[in-house]
């Protein structure tokens, strides 16, 4: 088991290093003055230019610079944002947990609801139910995420006035304790709901297909023949076996969820990593863009490891094979 985990970790680390190297090489390809690119659309005083050239070893050979950059990244030094006048690492440390909160809740809800819909869609004997769910999920899938967000804002904030339109909390708040929590939660409702809709449509499609495949297996027929009720077969055999592939797929697509944050946070002006990326692209703040890309790559890789471990733990075949080694 330890070897199994160690192997995965080593692979993940290698992938991360390759991502950073690839980004570094891409940055070398940009035409123009690297110092200017780092500073953004602002004039560069000669003293700053000299300092930057020395710090990023701009006058040294390519490989020296590459190793210098890798060692900086490994030490958590992701550069300095001229736009925010703060180290990139500090900005990311502030923004990342917010995105994780938003994406995490939406993701969890989406997986649970999606699995339920997928099962209901596949096992209900009435064919109309299946069709209705499938059509609904397909339409949900076809809608751009941010547009769903806009529609929710139109309905629940602008027309009905139930929930705030944007932000993470009110400008001035005197609420404390539980009241503060509730106040914050109202701001999260619409973004989380949008996220949930997005994830639900994806999970439900996978889950339906997976359950349909499981139902064709011989052991389902056997289970029925040995006298288990429909309910027992579904809970005991179908769900267990169908959930595994769905969990894998969803785990590997966590990156897509992080990507979804880019658009969603913009709709709701939620100050997370997605809106940071957009602000950085608009300001041509390359250091921040690279920082966000590295953090997203890291979180995807970490999520993949978690899924691998979860899978190994859930699937006895892998658990036993790994233990036997």
């Amino acid at each position: 088991m330890v070897r199994h985990i160690a192997g995965h970790l080593a692979q993940a680390l290698l992938l991360l290093i390759v991502v950073v190297v690839a980004i570094f090489c891409l940055l070398q390809l940009i035409p123009g003055d690297p110092v200017q690119a780092m500073v953004g659309d602002m004039p560069v005083p000669p003293a700053l230019r000299a300092a930057l050239e020395q710090r990023f070893r701009l006058n040294e050979p390519f490989l020296d610079r590459l190793f210098g950059y890798l060692s900086n990244v490994a030490h958590g030094d992701l550069g300095y944002s001229m736009n925010y006048r703060r180290p990139v690492f500090d900005i990311l440390a502030e923004r990342f947990p917010r995105t994780l909160l938003l994406a995490g809740i939406g993701y969890a809800f989406g997986i649970l609801i999606g699995i339920a819909i997928g099962i209901h869609s596949a096992v209900t004997p009435h064919r109309g139910v299946d069709r209705a769910w499938s059509s609904l999920m397909l339409i949900g899938y076809a809608m751009p995420t941010f547009w769903v967000g806009q529609l929710l804002v139109l309905t629940f904030s602008i027309q009905l006035g139930w929930l705030p339109t944007q932000g993470m909390g009110p400008m001035i708040s005197r609420a404390e304790g539980i009241d503060w929590l509730i106040e914050r939660a109202t701001y999260l409702v619409l973004p989380v709901a949008t996220y949930t809709i997005l994830e639900t449509t994806r999970v439900a499609r996978f889950m339906r297909a997976s359950v349909a495949e499981t139902l064709e297996q011989g052991y389902i027929v056997t289970a029925r023949q040995k006298g288990l009720t429909r309910h027992e077969v579904i809970m005991g055999h179908v769900v267990r076996n169908s959930v595994l592939p769905v969990i894998t797929v969803m785990g590997y697509s966590f990156g897509t969820a992080m990507g979804g944050a880019v658009l969603l946070e913009t709709v709701f002006s939620y100050p997370g990593m997605g809106s940071l990326m957009v602000e950085a692209v608009r300001a041509r703040d390359t250091q921040v863009i690279v920082g966000v890309v590295i953090v997203v790559a890291c979180s995807v890789v970490v999520m993949n490891i978690i899924v691998d471990l979860l899978y190994a733990w859930l699937d006895p075949r892998i658990r036993v094979a790994a233990a036997a080694r």
Partner: protein
């Protein structure tokens, strides 16, 4: 032959609807001048009129007829969808085919590169490229293609791996036919149904990515697109819902068209894949 394929596609559950939607959206966009009441830049009307008989989708903040802009904008959105998917197919197909046919160290390297791109979410890759290269229309198409090709590569690779072991390919190989013949005449035609499905899905993904890019205000500002219309609409969401609702619907319909078409093709070549599952009675 072609007619027969079309008939079979229409016989599937959703394939026919998909084709009709795609044709309708394409024709409406290509023949935009016939269906629009004014040009895409025509700002003659009062601004932000709600939907009425004269302006069925209302007018926008600049006083343009939303329906007319929508029709013209469809051109660039669909172009991005088709072209980015075609480019992704060319890049991903080539890499997948090379890796799947020749295997060995070449395949290992190519698959690692594919994984690398696959690690990052598409929209992040597109934003990264746009921030580096700028946002002219064709660079944007290339950026979207760059983000979606890994899925295509994975798929073609898988197809080549399975198909090159099949008897008819082994027979052709034993008969001493050239590598080119094996790849283009034996394996590729048999991989085509699966690949077509993925290209259609890629086109819908490309349209969604373009919509996101336009919405963020990062698409080519000189070319009207559905995403760009949504970007303009966001500012006036409280005053003019029609500026956001209709472009979003257009995107939704086009994406739905591609997906239904893909579902139809899958069902046509592999009826078991999408047929209703056996139900547990009792």
């Amino acid at each position: 032959m072609a007619l027969d394929l079309v008939r079979r596609l229409f016989a599937t559950r959703f394939g026919g609807i998909g084709v009709v939607i795609l044709l309708a959206v394409s024709i409406l966009s290509i023949l935009a001048p016939f269906f629009a009441s004014s040009g895409p830049e025509d700002i003659g009307s009062p601004s932000m009129l709600p939907p009425s008989w004269q302006h069925p989708f209302g007018t926008d903040s600049l006083g343009r007829d939303v329906r007319s802009v929508l029709l013209y904008a469809g051109r660039s959105s669909l172009t991005i969808g088709f072209c980015a998917a075609a480019m992704a197919f060319l890049i991903g197909g080539t890499i997948g085919a090379l890796a799947g046919y020749f295997r060995g160290p070449l395949a290992a390297v190519l698959l690692r590169v594919t994984d690398l791109f696959h690690t990052l979410p598409a929209i992040i890759i597109v934003l990264f490229s746009v921030s580096l290269l700028g946002a002219s229309f064709w660079l944007q198409v290339a950026a979207v293609a760059l983000a979606i090709w890994p899925i295509e590569a994975r798929l073609v690779y898988g197809q080549f791996i399975t198909l090159s072991e099949r008897e008819f390919v082994l027979a052709a190989r034993a008969a001493g036919l050239s590598t080119g013949h094996l790849i283009f005449r034996e394996i590729l035609p048999n991989a085509l149904p699966t690949v077509i499905v993925q290209v259609a899905l890629d086109a819908s993904t490309a349209i969604l990515i373009e919509a996101g890019l336009g919405f963020l205000g990062l698409s080519d500002p000189t070319v009207p697109s559905w995403g760009e219309m949504l970007n303009r609409g966001q500012e006036f969401l409280e005053l003019a819902w029609w500026m956001s609702v209709f472009p979003g619907m257009a995107i939704c319909i086009a994406v739905l068209g591609f997906n239904l078409f893909a579902d139809g093709v899958t069902e046509m070549f592999n009826p078991r894949a999408t047929a209703a599952p056996p139900k547990l009675e009792g």
